[in-house]
């Protein structure tokens, strides 16, 4: 079958199971866009290529399938890079396709030429420049294979314009062999036995569950193991949803803004079972004092992550689901009543400090909004958050019960992620109720995608948490820079009117008693809806482990805050 390169591109995508792509056309990718009309592909036009990249990422995270974004050469490609790096740091299976100047012009600084494979080398799992149409199908086949396999990640394929225009026999390889692509190893029986033995002897075991649980589809096995061995579970930010928040063994999020009982438990544990997480600095705090009393078992698909930050006693390099399936039969039923009681003590102490328990004197606090959103949606919505204070409050107060119900930029911490990623998530799971939770800062970075929401007729629900500051930076300035608020006060538009400009239902809430009603109304309307919540300006996220401090040295919410308000 003779096809042009442009036709091959879509033929390959369709054969990989792609039905939706996100992108933005331009000169060097025009042949591909022209050919697209002949293929069963839904193309979502973003308003900026960064948005297209986050959409592909959100699509991948919501569905587990490969997300695809397309852009033109030069500025089109460079605009993708923030989204590519975001996908890289959170191991999101994505394929990025960029047009490139004709191969004869490569290296001449031609119009809209930039070295895209060079630029994206450190932020992709792999990338390739295609200068020969006969290499195109194989390269794309490899790209999807690489993006999906092992620890997933972004792959970029840069396709010269003349390659798109050239014609050749289309040969789609059923299988491709990549000598450097190493499939996950099977867990070794001896390692599983050692892990089981450590667990059988532990008095204070704790499971640390990360993104890997979600990605490998191991949430159910995790629950069974935790229940069988009576082992509490703490979650990373990207692991939220991997274990039901309502489960009695769930300790919530760990780390810098983690739930205090989770952090206390890590520091007190005598055994950590780290499942699909990588001991990121935001999770560990000071490595020297981190979980000093605990033996560590690390189950991780990426061998380069094992013992990178934290030395481990047992390393199981394998797909998590295979590892847990192997571990379950060799573990014994256990009870840890003493350990559970100790944890319960921390829980009660933390509960008393909780902001929701404190008199609010009519103030609207972001945690109120998140709490009410959780109640309104029964914890069943897919929530896509931006980056900053609201992100941490969402992680603390929206109680996720299932995997893939929280989509957030963890590793790179990319502001502007939420709205476009939510567009991707909604397209991946149209049946799901999808909420954007963003701050006034991050939302303004990509708010142009409101037009995409409307053009694609997506019934997204959007909560903008407006405190008039770049809140998390302001919090650091308050705590560590003597309240010198350099460049953090932030002017914003009236977001409800802004929504109206896109014909999106918009409203503004500034009182606690209005929250539930506004949420109910937003959920009731057929199309998209936006609520701006004007919340307390100088509220802080607690607890907080200052960067590099000991994990147990949390700054806690002062209990006198309640007194202040009363007075």
């Amino acid at each position: 079958m003779k096809l042009t390169g442009a036709q091959m591109l879509w033929e390959c995508l369709v054969r990989e199971g792609v039905s939706t792509v996100f992108g933005y056309p331009g000169g060097a990718i025009l042949p591909a866009y022209d050919a697209m009309l002949e293929y069963p592909i839904r193309h979502v036009l973003s308003r900026h290529e960064q948005g297209a990249a986050h959409m592909a990422d959100g699509y991948a995270r919501a569905s587990g399938k490969v997300g695809v974004a397309v852009a033109t050469s030069g500025p089109g490609a460079t605009n993708l890079t923030t989204g590519i790096a975001t996908a890289m740091l959170d191991s999101s299976p994505t394929v990025f396709i960029t047009g490139q100047v004709p191969s004869a012009l490569l290296g001449t600084d031609a119009f809209q030429e930039v070295d895209v494979t060079g630029i994206t080398l450190p932020i992709t799992k792999h990338n390739a420049l295609v200068t020969d149409v006969r290499q195109l199908a194989r390269t794309l086949r490899e790209a999807f294979l690489i993006a999906r396999s092992g620890r997933p990640g972004p792959v970029l394929v840069d396709v010269c314009k003349d390659v798109q225009q050239a014609t050749a026999d289309f040969e789609w390889p059923e299988t491709v062999e990549l000598p450097g692509l190493h499939e996950p190893r099977a867990p070794r029986t001896a390692d599983l036995a050692r892990a089981a033995e450590l667990l059988s002897r532990a008095e204070r075991p704790l499971i640390l569950a990360g993104h890997g649980v979600v990605k490998s589809g191991a949430a159910e096995l995790l629950r069974v193991l935790a229940e069988k061995t009576d082992t509490p579970v703490a979650l990373t930010l990207l692991g939220l949803g991997a274990f039901p928040a309502s489960h009695p063994l769930c300790l919530g999020m760990m780390g810098m803004h983690g739930h205090a009982p989770a952090n206390h438990a890590i520091q007190r544990a005598d055994l950590l079972l780290a499942f699909g997480m990588r001991f990121d600095d935001r999770v560990t705090g000071n490595l020297k004092t981190y979980a000093a009393a605990a033996k560590k078992v690390h189950v991780e698909i990426d061998p380069s992550e094992v013992a990178k930050n934290v030395p481990v006693d047992v390393a199981i390099v394998a797909d998590l689901r295979a590892a847990l399936a192997g571990l379950l039969p060799v573990t014994a039923q256990q009870q840890h009543p003493g350990w559970r009681t100790e944890i319960e003590g921390w829980r009660q102490e933390t509960q008393a400090r909780d902001i929701l328990q404190q008199p609010d004197a009519g103030r609207l606090l972001a945690p109120h909004v998140i709490h009410d959103l959780w109640r309104a949606t029964g914890g069943e919505a897919v929530v896509v958050t931006d980056v900053g204070q609201h992100q941490m409050w969402e992680a603390q107060y929206y109680r996720h019960e299932r995997p893939r119900t929280l989509i957030t930029s963890g590793g790179l911490g990319t502001m502007g992620f939420a709205l476009p990623a939510a567009i991707g998530a909604k397209l991946a799971r149209p049946e799901a109720e999808v909420w954007v939770v963003a701050g006034d800062g991050g939302f303004q970075m990509t708010q142009c995608e409101l037009a995409t929401v409307q053009q694609e007729k997506l019934p997204l629900k959007i909560a903008v948490i407006n405190n008039g500051y770049l809140g998390m930076v302001r919090q650091w300035q308050e705590l560590f820079y003597q309240k010198r608020y350099a460049a953090t006060p932030l002017l914003s538009p009236d977001f409800a009117i802004l929504a109206g400009a896109y014909d999106i239902a918009g409203t503004r809430v500034s009182k606690r008693e209005q929250v539930a009603g506004a949420l109910a109304e937003a959920r009731r309307v057929q199309g998209p809806a936006l609520i701006e919540f004007q919340v307390e300006a100088e509220e802080k996220v607690y607890p907080m482990v200052p960067a590099g401090a000991d994990l147990h040295a949390m700054i806690r919410r002062p209990t006198e805050a309640a007194v202040e308000v009363r007075a």
């Binding site: 494979t117 080398l121 000598p179 450097g180 061998p303 013992a307």
Partner: protein, 175 residues
């Protein structure tokens, strides 16, 4: 300490760039890196000597293995290997000193490959220590210019190890 990694990599454009980029990004410290042909036209072989004071060799090895064009990596540091480094050394040398210098070079199985009025170029091949040994002796005479390839390494076969080791031992005694 220094670790020696040998990698078999696909012979594609940009492979060296990927390896170099990885080392730069992860702040792995390269002591030397050589790359060249292998027994297969589709693959090249790299010998990388890395300073592992800050990052364990295993992390370097596993990070390299993650690169798609890298088919195999082995850490041969503690395995029996044949190692070679080639150096070209331009040494200050008056006409009357040439034969003396020639003798010195021969002890290290080196030879003079270029002669000018006031200098010669010595070529020497051997393991790092041997080349370093000759350099130490030449330094007082005035090294005008020097270039080294960096180490290439290959695992020894089981049965052939002895002959070469004996020769090495002889050369070291000579030094």
């Amino acid at each position: 300490m220094r670790h020696t990694l040998v990698a078999r990599v696909q012979d594609q454009p940009g492979v060296l760039n990927r390896v170099a980029s990885l080392f730069r990004r992860r702040a792995f410290n390269i002591e030397s890196l050589t790359v060249g042909g292998s027994e297969s036209p589709d693959f090249s072989r790299m010998t990388i000597v890395v300073d592992t004071a800050r990052v364990p060799a295993r992390i370097v090895e596993e990070s390299l293995r993650k690169l798609i064009p890298v088919a195999e990596v082995s850490d041969v540091t503690h395995l029996p290997t044949v190692e070679r480094d080639l150096a070209l050394i331009r040494v200050r040398c008056a006409a009357g000193q040439r034969s003396e210098l020639n003798e010195l070079a021969q002890i290290f199985r080196g030879r003079i490959v270029d002669v000018a009025t006031d200098s010669v170029v010595v070529e020497v091949t051997g393991d790092l220590e041997k080349v370093d040994g000759l350099l130490d002796l030449l330094r007082p005479r005035g090294i005008l210019e020097m270039v080294r390839t960096g180490k290439v390494a290959m695992l020894r076969g089981v049965a052939t190890a002895d002959a070469d080791a004996d020769r090495e031992a002889t050369a070291k005694q000579g030094a």
